[in-house]
Every structure is written in structure tokens, then in C-alpha cells.
């Protein structure tokens, strides 16, 4: 599939560079929201998340020749993770928190464990819950947070997550289990506080 069809319409002098850049755009840009979402969960401030995503795309373009896989999403997310880690160690002031600011104290928090049929009506009801959930995710230690975000929010497979966080699949599996247990316990505690 690599560069299939190239040459059929590409016959300008700069075809090589142009078609590589065009291919990068077509492959990488559709994942911008995915990359940004992951960044927002890794970095507490929106401005930092935006900077990280921009740097990620620039690096990805620079190293695009070294991308040989078929799946660009894990490759992009791995680059983003590296960017975020270097940002964090540079600022050394990383505190995990809700990216959009503190949770609205007045927000209703209901049981999360009701029958979740995922209709829009349910989603409206759960809006307050989701805000609380975002905050709880932000409070997870980074290695657990990234596992559960990549799996349940970005929708990646264990194999892809293992590739992104550079760990064996078994490690991903146990981090995910820990993350979900922590989330559940934190939720039950929060519910109990009401």
C-alpha cells in the first residue's frame, strides 16, 4: 500500500517531497483530535498540550521517512508521549489535574454503574459524571493514566499500547487493571462523600 498510485498523477519536478508531505497530511492529520486528547490527559495545561501536539506533528514529519508501519496512530501517539515527557522533565512542575480547571462543585454526581446503554439521553444525564470522571483520570499516576486513556478513550489495542509505552503486553494489561480498580475505588469514595 506504500505510496500506491504514486506516479499516476505525480509528475512535477518536486514530486518526491511534495507527495511525501501530501501523504503525511492525508495519514496524520485525521488523527489530530486523538493526539490532542492524549496530550490533554498527559499535560495539565491546555497551552502545554497544544504546544506538545504541534511539536509532535513537526517531529513526525521530520521522521516520516522512518515510518514504515501500516498504522500511523500508535506511531504518532508514541512521538507525542516522548514530547510530553521531555516537556514535563523540563518544567519539573507537573501536577496532574483536570485540564479544563477544577470540577464544578455543584455538579451532580450520580452512580456511574447504572445500566449504560449509551443513548444521547443517557449522555445528557451523565454530563456531570463525565466531568468528575475526567478529574479522577487526571489524578491517576501517569503510567496508569496513559494506559487507561489509550485503551478506553483513544480506543487502542493492547499491542498498540505496548508499542507506544514501550512495555510488554503483560505490563500493559496489569497497568490497565490497576488503573480501572483505582478509578472505581476513587469513584465510590467520591459518591460516598456526597
Amino acid at each position: 500500500m506504500r505510496r500506491a498510485g504514486r506516479g499516476t498523477i505525480e509528475n512535477g519536478p518536486a514530486a518526491g517531497d511534495e507527495s511525501s508531505a501530501a501523504r503525511f497530511r492525508a495519514l496524520a492529520l485525521p488523527h489530530l483530535d486523538d493526539v490532542y486528547t492524549f496530550a490533554c490527559y498527559l499535560l495539565p495545561r491546555k497551552a502545554d498540550a497544544e504546544d506538545a501536539v504541534q511539536e509532535c506533528y513537526l517531529r513526525a514529519l521530520r521522521y516520516f521517512d522512518s515510518f514504515s508501519g501500516t498504522e500511523i496512530r500508535p506511531w504518532l501517539l508514541a512521538i507525542l508521549r516522548n514530547v510530553c515527557r521531555s516537556l514535563k522533565s523540563a518544567s519539573r512542575s507537573f501536577v496532574s489535574s483536570e485540564p479544563e480547571g477544577a470540577i464544578d462543585a455543584a455538579a451532580e454526581i450520580g452512580p456511574l454503574w447504572s445500566e449504560a446503554s449509551e443513548t444521547p439521553e443517557d449522555i445528557l444525564i451523565r454530563r456531570g459524571n463525565e466531568k468528575a470522571l475526567r478529574q479522577l483520570i487526571g489524578n491517576l499516576p501517569p503510567q496508569f493514566r496513559e494506559a487507561v486513556v489509550l485503551r478506553d478513550i483513544n480506543g487502542l489495542s493492547y499491542r498498540e499500547i505496548a508499542q507506544i509505552v514501550d512495555a510488554p503486553i503483560g505490563t500493559v494489561m496489569s497497568r490497565l487493571a490497576r488503573a480501572r480498580n483505582m478509578l472505581r475505588d476513587a469513584w465510590l469514595t467520591k459518591e460516598g462523600e456526597r
Binding site: 501530501a22 497530511r25 492529520l29
Partner: protein, 251 residues
């Protein structure tokens, strides 16, 4: 299998990462263990909660523009050639689809302008509270809502069984005409399906990529349809094909 072992495997089970034989063993244990049954239910609910679209973040338009501008391109604005490259590099596209697209786009600049409008309308719809005017997963609620609001009866199809949840509908404008926008969701990806009455002749289905969004256009019995999403091209194609199949069956 005991509870300890089952608890370790509940997560790969709900993630669809177990092979059939292991999945069978875990499910057999859970079926006769109340404790593990409630564990499973709790984690399934948590997972459903995590799939909510509001847990995802949309890249701000300014960030998208910054990145677009930083990427090398021959012209400042999307040229027809850029669009064609999008066609050719899109995943899962056959050469036939690409050449059909060529015919459509080469035919007129209007085609290109419409793509821009479709993407703009999609981006606008993603701003808070712009997505739907009628919010319902029930097609018998969404479909009648369009009555009297638009001069066509847009097809509203329940595709939940095919993995696309109907979210609702709203009115929009494409090519100077009032368009019905029918909104679907798969996982966290929003799909806008724009439907306008089009006297024009049948057009072959075509895929395009613009500003990072994938677009599929086709026509059906006097209707012109545009599906647009940040979902990958193969999945968007799947959406359009399932929609079209259901439409033909008259469901």
C-alpha cells in the same frame, strides 16, 4: 478457574483481547460467581462511561491551522491536486473509487468548493451545543422532526446494530441549499451526514480528504449525500456502505 484468575482476565475480556477458549473459561466462571459477575458489570459500566464523547478533546481550530501551515505544501489553499492526492493516499480505496473521484472533481470547481463547505459545516457542528437541534437515538423522533423544515424527507436510518449510534439531527446549509444533517457516532467519532435534494444526475461514490477530515459523497434517488468525519477512510466508507445498503432495503 478461581476468582483470582478470573479477575485478572476480566479486563482483557471486556477489551476483546482474549481468544475464544480463554474467553469461554472466564465467562463460565463468571456465570456461576456472583462476585465476579458484579466486578464484570462494574468495569463494563466504567468502560462505557469512558467512551463518552465529552471525555475526548477537540483540537482547537487555531492549533489545526498552525499545524497545517507548518506542513509544506505547494499552494496556500487546497488545490485540486491536493485533493486528488488525498484520494490516492486514502486507506482502503480502490483505484476505481479514486478515478471516479477524479471525474467528479475534475468536472467542476464547484465540487471542490462544496467539499470545503461540508468540512466547515462539520467543524461548526462540533462547537458546544451546535451538533443537534433534535437530540434522539430514535429515528422515529428524528425523521418527523425534519417535516416542514426542509423540502425533502431525509432518510434517517438506525445503524446501531452496525456499530453507528444515531445521535440526532439539525438543519444546515450546503451549496446554498438547506441540508438535513443527520448525526451519528462511532466510539468517540462524530459523523455528520448531510442530505440535500439534488436534481442532478446520479454520481458515482467518491472519497476525499480535506483538512484532515474524510468525506464520502454519493447520490441516491434525487438526494445528494455527504458523510464527513475524523474517522479513518475505511470506517467512513463502511458507514456509507451500510447506510446505503439499509436505504436500498427500504428500512
Amino acid at each position: 478457574m478461581n476468582c483470582e484468575e478470573a479477575k485478572d482476565l476480566i479486563h482483557p475480556l471486556i477489551d476483546g483481547e482474549l481468544d475464544a477458549s480463554h474467553a469461554g473459561k472466564v465467562e463460565a466462571h463468571i456465570a456461576q460467581c456472583a462476585g465476579c459477575t458484579s466486578e464484570l458489570a462494574a468495569f463494563r459500566s466504567l468502560q462505557a462511561g469512558m467512551a463518552a464523547p465529552s471525555l475526548r478533546y477537540r483540537a482547537p481550530g487555531s492549533l489545526r491551522q498552525k499545524i497545517e501551515r507548518a506542513l509544506p505544501r505547494p499552494a496556500a489553499r487546497a488545490s485540486r491536486r491536493d485533493l486528488l492526492r488525498g484520494f490516492l493516499s486514502g486507506a482502503g480505496l480502490s483505484a476505481v473509487a479514486a478515478s471516479a473521484a477524479f471525474v467528479m472533481l475534475a468536472g467542476s470547481d464547484a465540487g471542490q468548493a462544496i467539499l470545503g463547505e461540508v468540512v466547515s459545516a462539520h467543524i461548526r457542528s462540533l462547537e458546544p451545543d451546535h451538533l443537534t437541534d433534535v437530540l434522539s437515538s430514535d429515528r422515529h423522533t428524528v425523521k418527523p422532526w425534519f417535516n416542514g423544515r426542509i423540502d425533502t424527507a431525509p432518510p434517517v436510518i438506525d445503524l446501531a446494530a452496525q456499530g453507528f449510534t444515531l445521535i440526532g439531527g439539525r438543519l444546515d446549509a450546503i451549496g446554498g441549499k438547506t441540508a438535513a444533517a443527520i448525526v451519528y457516532r462511532r466510539r468517540a467519532h462524530i459523523i455528520n451526514l448531510f442530505v440535500v435534494a439534488a436534481p442532478a444526475k446520479q454520481r458515482p461514490p467518491a472519497m476525499a480528504t480535506l483538512q484532515g477530515f474524510n468525506i464520502r459523497h454519493w447520490s441516491h434517488q434525487g438526494l445528494s449525500l455527504w458523510a464527513v468525519s475524523d474517522m479513518n477512510a475505511a470506517e467512513l466508507q463502511e458507514f456509507a456502505e451500510k447506510f446505503e445498503a439499509a436505504l436500498r432495503m427500504g428500512t
